[in-house]
Every structure is written in C-alpha cells, then in structure tokens.
C-alpha cells in the first residue's frame, strides 16, 4: 500500500518548506509509550502541533483466532487482550457468551466474580498510577504501587495458579471455588491497602509539582468525549457521571452501594483523580461482597461442547479502562462466526490526536499516560 508512503512524502515536502517544524517519531521503542505504540509528532519548538498514531506493532489476529476456536477455547486468548486486567476480560467474554446462550451463573460465582473483578480493578489502577508516576519522573511511587499490586497477584495466584494470565472464569461461573481462608486473606489485604492510599497521595497528589504538571493539560472536551465514544475514567474525567456497573448493570452490581467519581474539566488531573478515587470505591464494593457472599456451587452445569443459537450480541462491561464490548455473531456451530472486540483503550486512544495539539512534549507523556493504554488490547 502506498498511502502511508505517500503521506510520508508529503510530510517530507512540508518539512523542507518550513525549517522550524520537526517531525519526531515517539515510539515504538520509547520508554513512555507503554508498549509499542508509535506517535508521529509535529513539533514547533517543543510544542506539539499534530499527532498521528500508528498502531499494529503487536497485532496478532486475535479476532481471526477467535473465529477458529470453540467458545470455551477463546477464554485464554482474552487474557492476552488487556493483560493488566485479565480477570475482567475473562469475565466480559464469559458474560457475553452467557447472555448469548442464556446460561445462568450461580450466586456464589457472581459474588466471587465481583470480588475478583474489583481486586483486578485495584491492581490495574495501581499499575497505572505507578507507570503514570514514572512518566512524570517520579520513580518511587511506581515501586510503592507495585508492592501492593504484588499482594493482589498473590491472591490471584492462590485461586488460579497464575500471576498474570489467569483464564479463571468459565462460561457459566468459575473454574474452581476459592481455597479455604482466601476470603479472609482478601479482607486482610483490604485492611493493609486502605492506609496505603494516603501514602501514595503524599508522593503524588500532595506535591505541588505533580499538581502543576497535570492540571489544565490534555483537556478532552465533553463533546469530544462523546464523539470519540470514550469510556471509563477518560469519559468520567470529562464530567460524565457514567459507569456501566450502575447504568447498564450486569452481574450483581446493582446490589452494592458505591459512588462514581467524576472529574470536572477533562484534563489529566481529572482522569488521574477519578482513577485514584475509584480504588476507594472498589475497596467498598469488595467489603460489601465479602459480607454477603453465600455458599454454594460456582459453576452451572453446562454442556461440554457449547453451541450458541443463531444470532448476534453486543455485550459490554466496565473494565478498569472503560467499556469492553464483545460483538459475537453465532451461526449455530460450536465456534463464533464473527468475534469482534471493542477494546476500550483502542477507542480512547483514538481521541489522543484531539487532546495533544498545543501542549508540550512533556505533556504528551502525561496525556498518553492518563489514557491508560494497553497495547495488547489496542493492537489485538
């Protein structure tokens, strides 16, 4: 294809015209692009005038693979989408299949899914906070966040035997019940974790440099947020009081009492502060779920070879990064006819070109960090 080359030719011509503009490749091999994202930036001095993202360095035919695997076999592949929130991907995919096939989920499994999902949200936001601090030049908060994230990973290892790609959920419930004493461990973790949040604040929120770095930077206007269909903390940072856990309830989220943090101006600070407070809300949800969890089975009796009825479904959940949707077309066979992932960070990232122009290179790093991209999910 010559389209890209053509564009490069045009860029070169324009560069020759104006000696003051500079096109810089940021990524794929760059410490702050969170993987192998490539941004082509047009710089005027240090100010960004234009940003063209290039994706696909980690494309691995996720959807084509999905069309050629049985419904159950896809679960391990969903781990690799957003590898920082694998549990939530499993859940989103299983939920889509359950909705498509009309499979019920036992009560205890729903509670465990909520507990695990919210722990995953905490872990995912922790790694985000750490790497965001790293982008801003604060290394220490990265290590502090990883300390607590390791504890969550320990909890997940206890239930699934894995630390990153769990494949723990099944269509119709969970693979296994949690081991004895695990729920008490979760409770102990929450008790440890709650006083840690003010500690992070001392390294981040309370620092005037941190505040000045991210306030009023990378503003995403509400109309842009809607137009680009942003979701999750990016959407909430722009002032929308919107969370699928409450507004399009799935699983048993309607039984819990939690707040939805919302930003005001849509700058990096708002997105940061929304995620920061979401961790507190997740703690609240897990505490409520721990109180109410009933005994019972964790997996509905399901056929070994699952076949979905002819039809299609678009099913969405609120992952730590936003709206993860699975669009599945079934033709009655044991594998999906079409399997499309609506990845939250793919969609959120598409709004980056409207957020960046007019800010400095240093802000580019902060804005990109505030979107919280995971390239495994963007490139699929």
């Amino acid at each position: 294809m010559t389209t890209v080359n053509l564009q490069l030719e045009q860029i070169k011509e324009r560069t020759a015209e104006s000696m003051e503009e500079m096109w810089v490749n940021m990524g794929p091999q760059h410490p702050s692009t969170h993987g192998v994202l490539r941004l082509l930036l047009k710089l005027d001095g240090e100010v960004i005038r234009e940003c063209i993202p290039y994706l696909g360095y980690m494309h691995r035919c996720h959807e084509k693979i999905g069309e050629n695997r049985a419904y159950v076999q896809i679960i391990p592949y969903t781990d690799r989408l957003d590898y920082l929130a694998s549990m939530y991907n499993n859940w989103a995919y299983c939920l889509a299949c359950e909705r498509l096939m009309g499979i019920p989920v036992p009560e205890r499994a729903e509670y465990l899914r909520v507990i695990i999902g919210e722990l995953q949200r905490i872990a995912s936001h922790l790694i985000w906070l750490g790497t965001f601090g790293l982008d801003l030049g604060n290394f220490t908060i990265f290590m502090w966040c990883f300390r607590e994230r390791e504890m969550v990973l320990d909890l997940f290892e206890a239930v699934s035997g894995q630390r990153l790609n769990y494949s723990f959920m099944r269509i119709g419930g969970l693979a296994l019940d949690v081991p004895e004493g695990w729920l008490a461990d979760v409770k102990a973790f929450l008790e440890w974790f709650k006083p840690r949040l003010p500690e992070y604040d001392r390294l981040s929120t309370d620092q005037i440099i941190w505040q000045k770095r991210i306030q009023g930077v990378g503003i995403l206007k509400p109309e842009d947020a809607i137009s680009y269909a942003c979701s999750g903390p990016v959407l909430r940072g722009s002032g929308f009081h919107w969370d699928l856990r409450r507004d399009d309830p799935y699983s048993i989220y309607d039984r819990f009492d939690f707040d939805i943090p919302v930003g005001e101006s849509g700058d990096v600070w708002d997105r940061f502060w929304v995620r920061r407070r979401e961790m507190e809300e997740s703690v609240k949800i897990v505490e409520q779920a721990l109180k109410e969890i009933p005994p019972g089975p964790v997996l509905s009796p399901v056929a070994k070879k699952l076949r979905a009825p002819v039809g299609d479904i678009y099913s969405r959940v609120e992952t730590p990064r936003g709206e993860l949707g699975f669009y599945i077309v079934a033709d009655g066979s044991e594998r999906p006819y079409r399997y499309k992932v609506r990845a939250p960070t793919f969609v959120n990232l598409s709004a980056l070109p409207v957020m960046l122009p007019g800010y400095f290179i240093a802000d580019c790093v902060a804005v990109l960090g505030s979107i919280d991209i995971v390239l495994g999910e963007v490139d699929r």
């Binding site: 003051e20 490749n25 794929p28 091999q29």
Partner: protein, 119 residues
C-alpha cells in the same frame, strides 16, 4: 599570578587526556568493535528519522540568551563591587541599587511582554 593558573591548565589537559586514555586506549583494547549498518543508524525509537534535527532554532530561545547576557554582564560588575562594598559604604549601595533597578525594570518588561514564557 599567572603561575597560579598552571594547575587550571594542567587539570583541563589531564582531564581531556584521561577521557582519551579511557576511551581510546584502555577500553579499545578490551572492547569489541563489530559495527553494522543498522547499529550505526540514528536512534529515533526504531523508525527512520524524517528530516534533519539540525534545523533553525525558534527565535524564542534567543530571547533567553539575550536576557542571560544582560544579567551575566551585570554579575561581572557585581563581583568587584561586592568585594569593595565595605570600604565604599553608602555610596556603593545607592549606586548599585540604581544599576540593579534599571536591570530589574528590564526584567519586568520582559516578564510583562511574555518573553519569559517557554515556547
């Protein structure tokens, strides 16, 4: 007087030679040298650079340089003044206040016109 600076010259020369010794003699003996065309390309995050980095520098950078030169010249004047300050007394103080105030007015002007904003 000039002999005092023999050490300065020697330090500068030895400093440069130390670098040459380390890089071009000591390290050369023991390090590998296997250049490949790819290895010798310019790093730009793994992509081919577009255009040259040697381009015209924005005029704003020169504003900082100009303001700096003003103040650098001022400090050159300030050092001898500071040494003889005690012996000159009030006269020195008033004279320097006038001098500094003129410069500070210049700074205030640069501040007000936005010359101190980074591009």
């Amino acid at each position: 007087m000039a002999a005092d600076y023999a050490y300065v010259a020697l330090f500068l020369i030895v400093g440069a030679l130390f670098v040459v010794f380390n890089i071009d003699i000591l390290s050369r003996l023991i390090r590998p040298a296997k250049p490949t065309p790819v290895k010798l390309t310019t790093y730009e995050c793994g992509e081919d650079p577009i255009g040259s980095p040697w381009l015209r520098i924005h005029i704003r950078y020169y504003l900082f340089a100009l303001i700096y030169i003003l103040f650098a010249v001022e400090t050159v004047f300030l050092f001898p003044w500071a040494i003889v300050y005690r012996s000159l007394g009030l006269f020195a103080f008033i004279e320097m206040v006038i001098f500094i105030v003129i410069l500070l007015v210049g700074l205030a002007y640069a501040w007000a016109t936005g010359a101190l904003e980074w591009v």
